[in-house]
Symmetry: C2
Subunit: 378 residues, 2 copies
């Protein structure tokens, strides 16, 4: 992505602020900050803020009008090199950053009106902002930015295609392990997954890798532990990597060796059909909840409705989980450029779990699957 | 750690709430939640809250009195297995979690009074809590919990000693690379570090590994990139791992092969002396800022005061950065059981950086270093 992409996004964000009646936006180290500046950083205890005013010309009494970064002095070189934000203010360890925050909001004319903060902003920073602008009204950045971020452009989609391909290749490597996986621990497999994702061009893991063997697979958010993989045991494998900052997110459930319980084959088939039905339902104009419904109906018909304990999916972008959520009650219509996960599952407490997940992009007349590796358990 | 540790901590937290005049505490997936329940989870978009009321007997009108977890249904099995919290409520995808939050606060008598939230709580959840209890007054969890967490018990210290030992061994492995490191990229070295930490018993990396070669070392928060290591070039290596959830944090600056610039040797020596002086200053009763002062004086005397652009250190516990901060203006007295990093540095823009960091535990009459591997650049 060229640097201009971020300046353009800041302009579109400013326009969205005006459309939604917000006076300004404050980001801390978040995916919004990355989206608007290209600067990717984990949140930390030091004040690092981007303040974007909505008004141009500036609000009454304002002496500054540009989007402005306030950063710890030790980040200054990096921020100037890695972003095209022209206005950068710094504060040093030992200074009081809350005074700098107050001054910045004042200079931009943002001590009142509706101010949006990152949905993920830490309470400690949100509290400092409230103290700095006690007369402002507070909202969340998603009110303005979600609509921009939810539709991916071609550069974003290319990154996600590459990340998905790295994950697909990794699934193939896992399948090739076959009986060699028996006796490895879940954690060994998670390490193996990290290695193979890197070999296939991925940058790190996009979230904690899930390797849920046997009964651990029945806990949808189990990570990975000391349990050894056994023959005949279904293993839920849910992992992702990133390319150019954009993630993949994919699940396969494999039996590495031997025969699974007879019921497992029925469960796997129901999940596979549910996933196919949901993918089939994805097209522009369809409400997100209809995709959830499509998967749920198949699983209910198979008699496992109570064992499908989560929504069918979520939007995916810089955040692995973002809008639109594919869940009952979400009547938001799908639009071209949206990327969602489709991941029904069945979880039988104390026995096993099964989940199959792909990412799909909504296209002009249907959808494109980003993952295409085999969905069977063998 | 036995399970009772967490129940005891919840009792001490309740006592601290009463001491600080708070009516209750709300945690989301945070280090506070891990400290109070043992449940370690990354924050996500689903409401997962622990609410701890201060009063026993309960507040007027309250129908419940116990610390209560409100979790997504898909976490229920895991939370019941991994914590000793007796009261667990669930909500399912498709339900409105904000209604469950409102009910829970009401049942515990926490719709008013002073309520504390995690310092790292996401704005989206803090906003929902404000909506659920519009008459409450809001503060940060650190007001009550920081004093508990800041002094480590023996089990916590043992975990940190083991994590530090894994990091020390990894530094030895890096030093052994010698000329073999030349031509590797920063990212190759970061991958090598992750491998070696695991071999020496560490669990993952505690934060993004920093490998700053040559001019990249002058950016204190550079991660790792494509730059190849060259002979004669100082490389800043800052990394950590975890054992039983507790992190290490250590920095060495090495020249893998050849001779560094003549000025580098003077810089390294100044940083080493500054670090030794600061460690020497650590003892109970000494204000944190005095430790910062001790390091800064040595570096100023060497003529590099302006190039030491950050504080001398930070507390370390479940959070890699926590109280007490070793920074000018922090007059908090050190106490036995506190663990702090001591990490002065000198950064010459466009040329190189040098930082040396160890963790130390404040003891009854001085301090114990957790890291003991060589501090030289060869």
């Amino acid at each position: 992505m060229t640097e201009d992409v971020h300046a353009e996004r800041r302009e579109r964000a400013t326009a969205r602020l005006r459309e939604t009646g917000a006076a300004g936006l404050v980001c801390f180290p978040s995916r919004n900050l990355q989206y608007l500046t290209g600067f990717a950083e984990e949140p930390g205890e030091r004040h690092l803020l981007l303040v974007v005013p909505a008004d141009d010309p500036p609000a009454d009494g304002a002496t500054a009008t540009e989007p402005t970064l306030l950063v710890p002095a030790l980040y200054e070189t990096q921020v100037r090199e890695e972003t095209t934000v022209g206005a950068v203010r710094t504060w040093a360890d030992g200074d009081d950053p809350t005074a700098a925050v107050r001054d910045l909001l004042g200079d931009l004319g943002l001590r009142e009106g509706r101010l949006l903060v990152d949905d993920t902003m830490w309470a400690t920073f949100a509290q400092d902002l409230r103290d700095a602008a006690p007369d402002a009204e507070w909202g969340l950045a998603s009110e303005a930015l979600a609509d921009l971020r939810v539709r991916k452009d071609e550069a974003e989609l290319d990154a996600m295609r590459a990340a998905a391909a790295a994950a697909d290749e990794t699934v193939r490597d896992l399948r090739d392990l076959g009986a060699d996986a028996v006796g490895m621990t879940e954690r060994d497999l998670a390490d193996r997954i990290a290695d193979r994702l890197a070999v296939h061009g991925g940058e790190g893991t996009a979230f904690e890798t899930i390797v849920g063997a046997g009964p651990n697979g029945a806990k949808p958010h189990h990570g990975s532990g000391d349990r050894e993989i056994r023959a005949g045991e279904p293993v839920v494998l849910d992992f992702g990597t990133r390319v150019d900052g954009y993630p993949s997110d994919q699940t396969r459930t494999l039996v590495f060796d031997g025969e699974p319980p007879a019921e497992y084959e029925r469960v796997h088939e129901a999940v596979r059909e549910a996933q196919a039905a949901a993918v089939e339902a994805v097209e522009p104009g369809v409400p997100a909840e209809a995709v959830d419904r499509a998967a749920r109906e198949v699983i209910e018909a198979a008699g496992y409705g109570d064992a499908f304990v989560h929504r069918t999916g979520h939007g995916v972008g810089l955040d692995v989980h973002e809008e639109p959520y594919v869940v009952a009650g979400n009547d938001r219509a799908l639009e071209p450029g949206m990327v969602v996960s489709v991941e029904p599952g069945i979880y039988l407490d104390g026995r096993f779990g099964c989940r199959i997940e792909d990412l799909v992009v909504v296209t002009e007349n249907g959808c494109e699957r980003l993952n295409d590796t085999d969905r069977g358990w063998r």
